[in-house]
């Protein structure tokens, strides 16, 4: 049985449905990320788990105990630790007082409080800064205080609400790994909210992609990147070329379909697991820019080879981006940085059928 079970959770603000009866299971010791654009309901879901929002329906079960169906359990009784987007480190208290606030409420003996505090300060790398006021700390340090405060009570569940979004890019990347290894070492079940797909992929064991109050897909980073369930997920995670078209043929035995697009009578795409497309369905033939192969001369392959013209070329250091026009469709292609083609030149694209998928 999962450590946290979210069952049929429903929450609305006035007329806007924020969470639309979602189901979610989080395993013990796992780091699950709720990923999605702003307004998708990810933060609201997290706040429901924390008890900071009261959902209208459904239940949340933490470690076997219902948080809603057997009477609303307030945040203070849920055994959680939480890191807020804006740190919420109390400015009128020193670092030490911030951290031990929760311990004091648990009526723990003074010497023990000191010990726990110094342990956790060591853990987050803030040893020696106990007597500073938050205003005397950098943003990164404040976030570490927030993390220490959330961890010091040994919570059953750690909730992180876009904890890195207020930090600059370099620090953000550094802290990602730090948080990941820290949480993994402590084995705390955690839920992490972010809108940054790279952050989600680095930090989580599993990702739940959310869109307009629904969980669209749950899986590991790899699964979500390689096998997105729909156009939304594919677009949100990484970059994808979408070529709208219509299924014209089912290629039995190959687990593939033929799709008619603006520039091709029949483009062969792999059929994702469990999808059943019938001829006539409108779909997107999709391929990631890095999966497109380019050739100066016509390649050997017999299908999915298209001639196009480079409209833009962008140099991104470790690779190049070509924007290639095939008829009227623009296809983005990621190629090694040493390719010498220039804007205006023509080339051949091979959209490997194994890597072409159809999405709706």
């Amino acid at each position: 049985m999962a450590f946290i079970e979210i069952q049929n959770l429903f929450k609305r603000f006035k007329d806007v449905v924020a969470i639309n009866r979602i189901q979610l299971e989080i395993n013990k010791g796992e780091m699950l990320t709720l990923l999605g654009p702003s307004g998708c309901g990810k933060t609201t879901t997290l706040r429901c788990i924390a008890g900071l929002e009261k959902p209208e329906g459904g239940d949340i079960i933490i470690d076997g105990q219902p948080m809603l169906s057997a009477g609303f359990v307030p945040p203070s009784k849920r055994g959680i630790g939480m890191v807020f987007q804006n740190y919420a480190v109390w400015p009128h208290m020193k670092v030490f007082s911030n951290i031990v606030y929760g311990l004091k409420l648990q009526k723990i003996a003074k010497p023990q409080i000191r010990e726990r505090a110094s342990q956790v300060l060591e853990l987050v790398g803030l040893a020696g800064l106990e007597d500073r006021y938050p205003a005397q700390l950098s943003g990164g340090q404040q976030q570490r205080v927030a993390l220490a405060r959330a961890l010091v009570t040994n919570p059953k569940v750690l909730l992180l609400d876009e904890p890195l979004s207020n930090l600059d890019a370099k620090l953000r990347e550094e802290l990602r790994f730090e948080i990941k290894s820290l949480v993994r070492r402590m084995g705390i079940t955690s839920v992490y909210v972010t809108h940054d797909q790279a952050e989600a992929m680095v930090i989580s064991d599993r990702i739940a992609v959310m869109d307009s109050g629904n969980v669209v897909q749950i899986g590991t980073s790899h699964e979500i990147y390689k096998k997105p369930v729909n156009r939304f997920v594919a677009d949100f995670i990484g970059t994808m070329n979408f070529m709208s078209g219509e299924v014209v043929e089912i290629l039995q035995g190959r687990n593939a379909v033929g799709v008619r697009t603006d520039f091709s009578e029949k483009m062969v795409c792999t059929m994702p697991d469990g999808t059943a497309a019938t001829p006539g369905t409108n779909v997107y033939a999709s391929i990631r820019p890095e999966d497109v192969e380019v050739f100066a001369e016509p390649p050997q392959a017999t299908e999915n080879v298209f001639k196009g013209k480079i409209v833009h070329k962008a140099y991104l250091g470790n690779f190049l981006f070509f924007f290639v026009r095939v008829n009227d469709t623009m296809i983005r292609v990621q190629v090694p940085h040493h390719l010498s083609q220039e804007e205006g030149q023509e080339l051949y694209l091979f959209l490997n059928p194994q890597k072409c998928m159809i999405l709706t």
């Binding site: 924390a50 008890g51 900071l52 307030p74 945040p75 203070s76 009784k77 959680i80 630790g81 939480m82 807020f84 987007q85 804006n86 740190y87 919420a88 109390w90 400015p91 009128h92 606030y101 929760g102 409420l105 648990q106 938050p134 205003a135 943003g139 927030a146 405060r149 959330a150 009570t153 909730l159 979004s165 207020n166």
Partner: protein, 558 residues
């Protein structure tokens, strides 16, 4: 940096020097004069602090200040919390009523409460009629009455500051406490309240200093031994008794020093812990909660109670204004317009003077306030912070001190006080901050790039100001104009020292009528007239935008 800004700043400083610094230094100098001689020394101060009467007076003033602050805080904290956090209907009307005393003249409240709570006032008569008490209860004559009346007058300052604090603090601070296991009162006292202290302090200091400023309320209630009342009596009635005069001047200086230093302290303290702006990315605008039915009805009862006390002032004064011979009766029985007829017949000049003097003061206020706001907000002229500080300081400065200083400075040396123009000038000085702060706070909210765009398009600084800034500031400026006028209109502490026959304003008329022969009817009618005028002006403000008012007076740190 343009040269014009320097000239402008220099000009503003010149005005401050002439109308604020010069007269005030004259008082200070005077306090060091040894009576009857031409020599100087600290004799007056030694005498003052050796005299047990004056020491007791000083101590009693401090005691009153403390009691006042405690009372307003105890009543103000829940009130501010209810107004800021609870979702309830009638929020606007309750807020308006509870904040009303800010703009009502302090003496209006005193008169109303004497009529209602006095020895043979309405309440006592009702209680006796019902047979609940045998002898009248002394509700207001004494320290307790003073605390009661002054607390009601100053409550808005606490409520305004705190409710702004309760609304503006980042909700996640409290949520974090909740997650950590603190809820209810614990969270309130360890997190919410401490985070609101800076906005509380801004109001608290004004409350604490009020007993060092308000001479009239104690006088009317028969509590003479407080610093400002003593100063007033000594200076106004014993000008020929040189000793008492000097003791009065010393009392004025001592009050002013207390006011300045506490104000400085509060400013420093607030500056040190500005909690707002520390957190980034606030998600929601405050927290509004739906309290349980029991708590909600309790909150309503409480709000209605305070609102009724405030409403008593205009109601009682209205009853008194439209009646004659309202004595030993719970409610008036003889209705008449006689009071108003007498006012119009015998002293129509009072109304005219009030409008004229306040109006001229307002013109000065705008002519000074707009450039001052510009210099303070938009330029880097050295000393602009000091300018802001001196002007803001006038908020806490006792009106008596200004009155006395003008009397001393502009009587013999520069004989300005023999011309009626001294009246609007004094009102202008006394109410200096009221217009400026409105202009200032709306200026701060005006995006610089709007002005820069005009300058890039080729407009001069002055043209930019009049064609871009001023129209955009208009709302704040208008509220400032009305606010200034209201405050100048009810000014008495300074004017009382400077008026001569024919220069009386409405507040002075009220005082004289009360003072001369207990002509309560006429005094009440005048006070009622003032309240009506204030109400009309307030309506204009709320039409223009009550938000501006809150922005300027809410938290002191804005």
């Amino acid at each position: 940096m343009s040269r014009g800004n320097y000239y402008l700043a220099a000009f503003l400083w010149l005005i401050i020097a002439f109308f604020v610094i010069y007269p005030l230094s004259i008082v200070v100098l005077e306090s060091f004069k040894i009576a009857g001689t031409d020599s100087w020394g600290i004799q007056n101060y030694l005498e003052f602090f050796r005299d047990t009467y004056y020491l007791k007076t000083f101590g009693k003033t401090l005691l009153l200040s403390t009691l006042l602050l405690v009372t307003t805080t105890v009543f103000g904290v829940p009130l501010a919390y209810i107004l800021a956090r609870y979702r309830h209907t009638g929020k606007t009307i309750f807020t308006a009523l509870i904040l009303l005393p800010i703009v009502l003249p302090a003496f209006a409240g005193v008169f109303a409460f004497i009529i209602f709570f006095g020895k043979y006032g309405t309440l006592n008569l009702l209680l006796m009629d019902l047979g609940l008490v045998e002898k009248p209860i002394n509700f207001i004559y004494g320290l307790h009455g003073l605390v009661f009346i002054q607390a009601l007058h100053m409550l808005p300052f606490i409520v305004l500051g705190l409710s702004a604090g309760f609304t503006n603090i980042d909700p996640s601070f409290e949520e974090a406490a909740e997650v950590e296991g603190a809820s209810g009162f614990r969270r309130f006292f360890t997190i919410t309240l401490p985070l609101c202290t800076p906005s509380y302090m801004a109001g608290a200091v004004l409350v604490f200093l009020w007993p060092f400023t308000d001479w009239l309320t104690p006088l009317i209630l028969g509590q003479h031994d407080l610093l400002p009342s003593v100063s007033y009596i000594n200076i106004a009635y014993h000008f020929t008794d040189v000793h008492r005069k000097y003791m009065g001047i010393v009392a004025v200086v001592v009050s002013a020093v207390v006011c300045i230093s506490l104000f400085l302290f509060a400013r420093w303290w607030v500056e040190k812990r500005k909690y707002t702006g520390l957190s980034k990315g606030t998600t929601s605008e405050g927290r509004v909660i739906e309290p349980s039915a029991l708590v909600k009805s309790g909150a309503y009862v409480y709000m209605v109670f305070i609102a009724l006390l405030v409403l008593l002032i205009p109601i009682v004064l209205g009853l008194a204004a439209f009646s004659r011979k309202w004595v030993f009766e719970a409610f008036p029985t003889y209705w008449t317009l006689e009071n108003f007829r007498l006012i119009l017949l015998e002293s129509p000049g009072l109304i005219k003077n009030s409008f004229l003097f306040s109006g001229i003061a307002l013109v000065f206020g705008i002519a000074f306030g707009l450039p001052a706001a510009y210099i303070i907000v938009r330029t880097r002229v050295p000393g602009r912070d000091a300018l802001d500080f001196v002007i803001t300081l006038m908020l806490a400065f006792p009106g008596i001190a200004i009155g006395v200083s003008y009397l001393l400075a502009f009587w013999e040396g520069i004989p300005l006080a023999t011309f009626w123009i001294i009246m609007p000038l004094a009102l202008f000085t006394r109410r200096l901050p009221y217009f400026l702060r409105m202009a200032h706070s709306s200026y701060l909210q005006l995006d610089t790039s709007l002005e820069e765009a005009a300058e890039v398009s080729g407009a001069s600084k002055i043209r930019t100001f009049f064609s871009i800034s001023l129209p955009l500031l208009l709302k704040g400026v208008l509220v400032g104009v009305v606010m200034f006028f209201i405050m100048a209109f009810q000014e008495i502490s300074t004017a009382i020292f400077l008026y001569r026959g024919g220069w009386e304003t409405l507040p002075i008329g009220i005082y004289l009528n009360w003072h001369r022969g207990m002509e309560f009817g006429i005094a009440a009618a005048m006070a009622f007239l003032m309240i009506v005028i204030t109400f009309i002006l307030l309506l204009i403000i709320s039409r223009v935008g009550g938000g501006v008012l809150k922005a300027a007076w809410g938290a002191g740190e804005k």
